[in-house]
């Protein structure tokens, strides 16, 4: 009797292990949370210092078109207009996503619906490989192939938004494609069977049923690609021209938030206005990635309904 009583009151080894495992995962989670929060705190405190410590007007910062933090205008205000970079970042992102989406959908449809065998054997590994290529390689190819082509086609130096968008298009294509492939694969088989059983041709099945059922997933893939394009720094910096000017056309030298950041952050003194202004750009990047994230979540939620 006492044995039973004792074993009921005492924790078993299994329970202790179970609790131990739970603590380990909880600790890992907490660590991640702390890291993320610290990043936010750090970027925000530095980025907001531009407005609080250096008294830059937020509106001037967002809409000003002259970026020269070291210089001051007649009224003694520093030139910290971030609009050219914000516009540049959005333009390269949108253009690259616009070009990448049809290609990604086409490739994904080929890989899942038209030729699944060849798709799985050849195209699958190829797209995975493309994801793994370092961005400096993409940038270098952009520099030695795309920029000269742009120069030849449109004149000027060849550096600019369009060159940046073309490089980003190639960079985000594999991401968008492989996510679209996953989405198409998750469309239930019975949608295919029942649409064919209703007398649909294969093409009608693809674009009237499968793509329609997969729309939320495809949108998620595109936004994911846009998030990647928005945050990509090195490859863009190599081809965009790095002139913090309002882009006059798509082939004139321009800049993005990331390209200005990578160029400037090593050449400024911590705590100076020049440095703080760069952190403000980083804060915009961070907020934008939050926006992309929430959009993805919102789409996923809507798609699940």
């Amino acid at each position: 009797m006492d044995n039973i009583r004792e074993s009921l009151l005492k924790q078993s080894a299994a329970t202790r292990k179970d609790r131990f495992g739970r603590y380990i995962s909880l600790a890992a989670l907490l660590l991640i949370v702390v890291v993320v929060l610290s990043i936010f705190w750090f970027v925000a405190s530095k980025g907001l210092a531009t407005f609080f410590a250096n008294k830059v007007n937020l509106w001037d910062f967002l809409t000003g078109t002259k970026w020269a933090p070291g210089q001051k205008d007649a009224n003694g205000h520093p030139f910290v207009g971030a609009a050219p970079m914000i516009v540049g970042s959005f333009l390269v992102t949108l253009i690259s996503a616009l070009i990448a989406t049809p290609f990604a959908i086409g490739t994904a449809v080929f890989m899942t619906e038209i030729s699944p065998k060849r798709g799985a054997k050849i195209l699958g590994p190829v797209t995975e490989l493309l994801v793994g290529i370092p961005s400096v390689v993409y940038g270098f190819i952009g520099l030695s192939v795309i920029v000269p082509v742009m120069r030849h086609l449109f004149g000027g130096s060849g550096f600019g938004i369009l060159a940046g968008a073309m490089v980003l298009f190639v960079m985000i294509l594999p991401t968008v494609t492989s996510m679209t492939v996953d989405t198409l694969k998750s469309v239930p088989r019975h949608y295919r069977e029942s649409s064919l059983a209703l007398g649909a041709t294969r093409w009608q099945m693809i674009y009237k049923v499968i793509l329609r059922a997969a729309t939320p997933g495809i949108l998620t893939a595109v936004v994911f690609g846009m998030a990647r394009a928005f945050g990509e720094a090195l490859a863009v910096q190599m081809v965009v021209g790095n002139a913090a000017l309002m882009p006059q056309n798509l082939t004139s030298p321009a800049a993005t938030l990331t390209s200005v950041l990578t160029q400037g952050i090593g050449n400024t003194v911590m705590g100076s206005l020049e440095n703080n202004a760069l952190w403000s750009l980083a804060l915009i990047l961070l907020l934008m990635s939050l926006v992309f994230n929430s959009v993805i979540r919102a789409i996923a939620k809507k798609g699940a309904m």
Binding site: P188, H190, Y191, R192, E193, S194, S195, L196, A197, L198, G199, A200, T201, Q204, K208, V209, R212, A213
Partner: protein, 252 residues
């Protein structure tokens, strides 16, 4: 002799090297319900899917034999599977409406054949939903997602969707197997109402269902057709001992 709308002769089907159907001979009168019964793995669903060439979608399947739909060879190279499947519709075991509105689901078949006239679509959607005995339940929210309906309603929408292409034959692969008894009953009633206008071939595991709704019954076992007869005769006085054993539950 009533007019035969569909005849199948010496149907042999292979999965790779393995023969799954060993020469089935079966034909169907115009209108009425034929039930295909038999244990799992007996080949009845496999046979059913051969009738509108659904096996074309699967690699490695070879279908031999003669299939004549109104005298026309179903497996002839010149046969247009798209047209064929409009004439020989199919309803599956799982209720599987597309993730669209009820209206778009039912209109799907007509839209893919190029019908754009709103009035024609409206009328056909209404007729089909009425034929499938679900009009009264959904008429007020035709633009609601079909996925928000109950399983039984979804299955009747699937039937309406198949009816909307005006098929002459409707193949039903265990249409009530995934439904609760009440929904199953509603679907059965739907089929009964259609028996004068449509030829239906239904695969079912429920002996009671076969005896309730079908005019003729065919018993499959291990890829062979054991017996096909009038349902009454089949259930009261079958010719073959295997049929008797299966129907009375003394099987295996």
């Amino acid at each position: 002799m009533a007019e035969k709308i569909l005849t199948t002769e010496n149907v042999r089907l292979y999965y790779g090297e393995k023969e799954a159907l060993h020469g089935i001979n079966l034909d169907y009168d115009k209108f009425g319900i034929t039930a295909l019964i038999g244990p799992s793995g007996s080949g009845k669903s496999t046979y059913l899917r051969a009738l509108n060439r659904m096996h074309d979608l699967t690699d490695n399947v070879t279908v031999n034999g003669t299939f004549l739909f109104k005298g026309q060879d179903i497996y002839a190279p010149s046969t247009d599977t798209v047209e064929l499947r409009k004439d020989i519709g199919m309803v599956f075991q799982q209720p599987n409406p597309f993730p669209f509105s009820i209206y778009d689901n039912v209109a799907f078949g007509m839209r893919i054949s190029g019908e754009k006239n709103k009035a024609v679509l409206d009328e056909m959607v209404e007729t089909s939903l009425k034929q499938a005995a679900i009009w009264n339940e959904v008429k007020d929210d035709l633009h609601k997602s079909a996925l928000s309906l109950s399983g039984g309603q979804q299955q009747r929408v699937s039937i309406a969707r198949a009816l909307a292409t005006s098929p002459e034959i409707l193949l039903l692969d265990e249409p009530t197997a995934a439904l609760d008894p009440v929904s199953a009953h509603a679907v059965e009633n739907t089929l009964m109402q259609l028996r004068d206008k449509l030829t239906m071939i239904i695969v079912t595991h429920s002996m009671a269902q076969a005896s309730r709704i079908s005019d003729r019954t065919a018993f499959f076992m291990n890829g062979d057709l054991i017996e096909a007869n009038d349902t009454k005769k089949m259930f009261l006085d079958p010719d073959k001992k295997e049929t008797q054993d299966y129907i009375s539950g003394r099987f295996g």
